[in-house]
């Protein structure tokens, strides 16, 4: 499993949707026959995965919102989400 490049633009895989569930007060990832609950960090990253923004841009955007965001952490989160078949990139 290779690490995602900083200039890659990740997006949700076909058929995967991110939504906010007010009953459980958390973001949820929905896909055929499945539900995953991402943690707060993963949810913040996923919300910015539109297939246009690059990893560097996502990290910069998160850095404006939260303190102490490191691009390596964002890459790690995305790599894990790719392993779970939630996101993809070209």
């Amino acid at each position: 499993m290779s690490m995602i490049g900083l200039d890659s633009a990740p997006r949700l895989r076909r058929g995967v949707r991110l939504t906010y569930d007010k009953t459980r007060e958390t973001h949820v990832l929905l896909f055929p026959e499945g539900v995953l609950v991402p943690n707060k960090t993963a949810a913040a990253v996923l919300e910015l995965c539109d297939g246009v923004a690059t990893v560097a841009e996502i990290a910069a955007e998160l850095g404006r919102r939260y303190e102490g965001v490191r691009v390596e952490d964002v890459r790690n989160v995305l790599t894990r989400l790719e392993e779970r078949r939630v996101v993809e990139w070209k």
Binding site: R14, G15, Y20, D21, R24, F31, P32, E33, V35
Partner: protein, 369 residues
Amino acid sequence: MEVTAHQPTAQPPLGMLAELTHRCPLHCPYCSNPIELVTRENELSTDEWLDVVGQARELGVLQVHLSGGEPLARHDLPVLVSRAADLGCYVNLVTSGLGLTEERLTDLVDRGLAHVQLSVQGADAETANRIAGVKAHAHKLKAAQAVKELDIPLTVNVVLHRANHHQVADLIALAERMGADRLELANTQYYGWGLRNRSALMPTAEQLAEAEPIVRAATERLRDTMQIVYVVADYYSPYPKPCMYGWGSRQLTVAPNGDVLPCPAASSITTLTLDNVRSRNLADIWYRSAAFNAYRGEDWLPDPCRGCSRKGIDFGGCRCQAFLLTGDAGATDPVCSLSPDRGLIDTILASTPSEPPELVMRQNTIKVV
């Protein structure tokens, strides 16, 4: 000393199986619908279904499976898809593919349909049409093509039994050609029509032994392109299947007439008092009804389940099967090798006929195309 009645705590449901209608153009002899089908006059109205979808989302439902019968037989399917999708649910259409034209599908996808589950009865037209009781196979190939052209995920659902088990390799190849993202190969479950046809549908031990290595190899080979889910033939298993991952734990079913079921086959348990959305709120039914609390949690478990290390894996097995075969829905699933009733299953398997009898095809059908 306790002063209040113990109520097992329940989490909100993740999924709702909405059986919009029992009407269907197919006649599959293993249909999961009950023998006593709900007629069109007794189906919930459009407004009632819209309300049910809203209540379900409020309750926490995230996956809405629009099923039947054939859900396309309901002309209000588009507005139901819109409502569920607009509320943030993942909307799944469970269909025979008959009537699923490119035009209808495009409209449903525009409204937010996320996933299609398409049934396939056999690997070739002759076998498939014989099992479906109607010339359906060619329509299914076209429906699959339409799903792929719209680029949404496709699951192919196959029920396996004695008359198609030998085709398992060809069924996998067909699903690959159809471009399926997932393939469910489910051995027949014996309720309703499946139970009526059990002696004709029961695969032989040889058939199962031949299929298993094929399925295993394909699952590995296709790991990155097509997920294969194999549902075992539980009569041949030493342990029962994890029925609903716990009764009243993850999913509810709403029947065409509004009856709310803890499991799609639960209307077969005649000792269960079912509530209906026409007279009771969905959340109240989920959390407080007798039917949903009857086998929830672990307090109800009989021996030998109570002290068994597998109770967290299979939850005592299938309540419908326990009722249909032993007369007691609270008994250990008789499939279990530890059940005092396992002899019932062994007797059934031992009496599997060398030549299968004629199939009794499901009746009460309509033309929806």
